[in-house]
Structures are given as C-alpha cells and as structure tokens.
Amino acid sequence: MDTEKNPQGGARVFRASAGPHIRSGESVPHIMWTVSAALLPAAGLSVYYFGPRAFLILIISIASSAAFEALAQKLMGAKITVSDGSAILTGLLLGMNLPASAPFYLPVIGSAVAILITKQLFGGLGYNIFNPALIGRAFLMASFPRFMTAWPVPQGSLSLARPDAVTGATPLGILKEEGYRKLLSHFASRHDMYVQLLLGHRGGAMGETGVIALLFGAAYLLYKGYITWHIPVTFIATVAVLTAVFGGDPWLAMLSGGLVLGAFFMATDYVTVPQLKRAQIAFGLGCGIITALIRLEGGYPEGVCYAILLMNCFTPLLDRAFRPRKFGEVA
C-alpha cells in the first residue's frame, strides 16, 4: 500500500492493490511434497508387509506419472511443471491403490489415464473435475478385474518373480461373500481383529492397509493445516453411523477398506472438492452415504473410490449452493 498526492488537492489518498494482502508463504509445490511425505509412513509399511514388489510398483507408478505429465506438457507446448510434485503425488496415490501383486504395466496404464486424460486434457493442475488417481484406479478396476480383485495377503515378503504369490479376499470381501461370523473366525477375537486392521495385517491395496501409519500422516497434515477435519471426519463418521444403524460393525467399517486413505488423502484434494466449510461437510456426508450404500447393498465389497468420484461431480454445485449470501442479497 502506498500513498501519493491527491492531484486535486493537498490531502493524501491511499492506493491499495488487489487482495490478497497477507500471504502465508505456502506454495503449491510445498503442499504437494508435504502431502506426499505424509503418505510415506503408510507406503513404507506396505513395502514392509508386501515386500520389494510393492516398492517397485510404487516407483513405477510415480515415475510414469511424472513422465506422462512432462510428455503432455511438452506436447501441448506448456511449461513443464513436474517439480511441483502434483503428478508425483498422483502417482504415489495411484500406486497405493493397487494390489502389490499387480503386473508392472498396470501402474503405467493407470498413470496414463490419470495424468493424460483426467488431468492434462481437462487443463492441468487446478482444472480437473475428478481426482486423477481415483479415475486411474477405477479405469484399471473396470479393465483388469482379475488383477484388481486379487489382493495379496501380507506374508513378510512377496518375491519379485511371482505375481500370484498368495492372494486372498480383503476383509470387506469376506464380509460381503461369507458374512461377519466367518470374517471374525480369521482372528483370535473381535479385539484382535481391530488391532490387526489398525496395524494393516490384512489383504488389500498396498496403501490402504496400514491404517495406523495413514492416521499418523493425516494427523501431521491436520496439524500443519493443509487439510481440515470437515470432509474426513464427516465421511468416516457417516459410514460408521450408517453401518451401525443397519446392523453392521462400525469399527470394522472404519478400519477396513480404503476409507482412511480415501477420506484423509483423496477426499481432501484441493482441486476436486468444495472449498466452503459447509459444502465440505455436505461433501463428506454424500461420500459416506454412497460408500455405505455400495458396501451394504451394492455388488462391490468396497465403495470409497466411486463415492469420492461421484461426489467430485457435485463439487461446483455444492460450492454454489453453500455460497454465503451478501448482506441484503435477495435469493
């Protein structure tokens, strides 16, 4: 803000530039890299459980996402912005959504769909309607159901050479096909089941099993203020409440599947979710309802991915619906 002489007279006027005037010093790259770092404990845990193959899949997924981002930007004659970390984060999230037994070309195809189609064709970072990593996952799920429903069970180490080492159903898969009693029989007690789920000792996508590590990373992001509680808490609570109302086990519902990963790391993506707090609560509510609906009544055992993608469609509408009224504005 600077002052200058009023041309008409002696009084001084203030000339203000357009807002924002207070800057936090945060930047997109800084946030992207921090979120990626917050995912590292969970990624590390998955490598510990699923072995070196998991590590390789994560690396392939990240590298191909970065490569497709650079390729797309080069083809379109835009500035190459791989270093902003957004493509790397997409690659990491996509990798964490795959089973460790997936063939190595799966993350490459998934990255191509996520980066080239979902992100760059819609205009790049900030313009995509849908979460790129989730579209990548949904695309692979529809294309390769055989690979995408064979979830390796943690065995210590899965050898690099044999993709079909030991696979089994996820807890939600068992719940859907064989019922709660059967699922419980895999564990010593109900308490033991919760502990095992928290620690991630179960079949599933690489990044969704280590719930404790995910919560650790999420807590850091909440502490830093990069994500707020509105969407994740509403999302998870809605699933728990609905599951309990319809006679399920709410703790199992919260700890199993991709709920924690999805709620804290994918339903909080700045680009594809509403910005207003009340709209975010509606968004979380919608995600929770759709997830519970798919889990309890749908054909798939898990619905977090589709729930977030469906709610992504409503983001502009929600932001508009909850837009604060100007004082005196007539609806």
């Binding site: 195809i109 189609i117 064709l121 695309f139 529809a142 294309s143 390769f144 159901p145 055989r146």
Partner: protein, 215 residues
C-alpha cells in the same frame, strides 16, 4: 444454397459429410448410437449402413416433396418419411440377419429420432433439389458409417484385441473399452484427433462441433 450444382460440387458435398462436417466428429450429432452400438467393427458397420440407407432415401424423398409439404407440419411429415424407411430397414434386417437384429433391433428403431437425419432433412433437403440432396445424404451417411466403423475398430482392438473378429493382440485387453465408458473415451479422443488434424493441416479453429446431447 440454391445454386446450380456441377460434378465437382457433388464431390464436394459428399466429401463435406465425410470430413469437414462429419456428423460424429465435427457436428457432434447422434452421439448416442455412436457410443451404444460401437463395441465392434461389425456392429458399427451394420448401424452405419442402415443410417446411410435411411439418410440418403430420406433426403431424396424430402427434397422431392419439399414444395408440397406445408411448412407448419414439416417436422411431423419428415418423421413419417424417416419412419417409413426405418421400418423398411428393420424388416430387411429381421428377414436376412436375425442375430444382428436381436443385438441391434432396438437401436435400428431409434434411427427414427436420430438428430443427424432430421437436421439434414430440415437444413438441406428441404431447400435443395433432388440430386444435391441425395449427394448430401450420401456424404453424411458415409461420414457417419466411417465414424462408427472407426470408433468400433478402436474399441474392438483395445477392448477385445481384435479387429472385425480377427484376433491381433495377445494378453489381457483393456476391458473397459467395450463397456459404455470406453465409448465415451474412444469418441472423445478420436474427436480430439480430428480437431488436432484440422487445426494443424487445415487451419481450422478449435470447437467446431455444435450442440451435442441429441440422439
């Protein structure tokens, strides 16, 4: 548009429907069947041939009767003309290819409300003489046929590893491409390719397509 057409003009009219005003890729009309029936080259081809026949015949008929139809009732009149030729097509198909009819019978009936056919009747055939109208219908029909075969080929190749029934690739294909989602992916990407070629080599402007969302 009332001009005297010469041989080159007919060629131009036909090419217009195939390339610069391709119904699917440029006008973005009749995208619904372009997504629904193009899971393979064969299905795309059959649908395309049916539309080619109906389109050409409708353009000729509408042009013949253009001075007799009261403008106030022209749309119902066009629909009746279209429905006549669609019924002929449907009966022919039912008589000679029952398996294809079982697969596509519903979509064949839907040709009655295809936006591309009624729009050519309204925009071209009702204002032009018979031969130019026939050429326009032929060009548009060929453009539609070509587009459906192209989309069908892309989807069949990626989604099933074959083209027109001949297996080409090994390994697991991208199943999604033969699902409805894959139709949107294939048409969107091919349309992008068309726009890109147009911009790069013919200096066309992006956009091109008109109102989508019709049948």
């Amino acid at each position: 548009m009332k001009t005297n057409f010469m041989a080159t003009s007919y060629k131009k009219l036909i090419l217009n429907g195939i390339f610069s005003e391709n119904p699917v890729f440029r006008l973005a009309l009749s995208l619904c069947p372009a997504v629904a029936v193009t899971t393979s080259v064969k299905n795309g081809f059959l649908m395309g041939v049916a539309v080619l026949f109906v389109m050409t015949m409708v353009n000729i008929t509408v042009s013949l009767f253009r001075n007799l139809i009261n403008p106030k009732v022209r749309i119902p009149a066009y629909i009746l003309i279209i429905a006549t030729y669609v019924s002929i097509t449907e009966m022919m198909m039912r008589a000679y290819s029952r398996t294809a009819y079982k697969q596509m019978g519903l979509y064949i009936q839907l040709i009655v409300v295809f936006a591309i056919i009624i729009s050519r009747a309204e925009l071209f055939a009702s204002r032009n003489k018979v031969l130019p109208s026939a050429a326009d219908g032929l060009g548009m029909g060929l453009g539609f046929l070509g587009a459906l075969v192209l989309v069908g080929a892309v989807r069949e190749l990626i989604g099933n590893g074959s083209i027109a029934g001949f297996h080409i690739t090994h390994g697991s294909p991208l199943l999604i491409m033969v699902l409805p989602t894959g139709g949107f992916f294939a048409i969107g990407l091919l349309m992008g390719l068309f726009n890109w070629i147009d911009q790069k080599y013919y200096g066309g402007r992006p956009g091109g397509g008109g109102g989508g969302g019709h049948h």
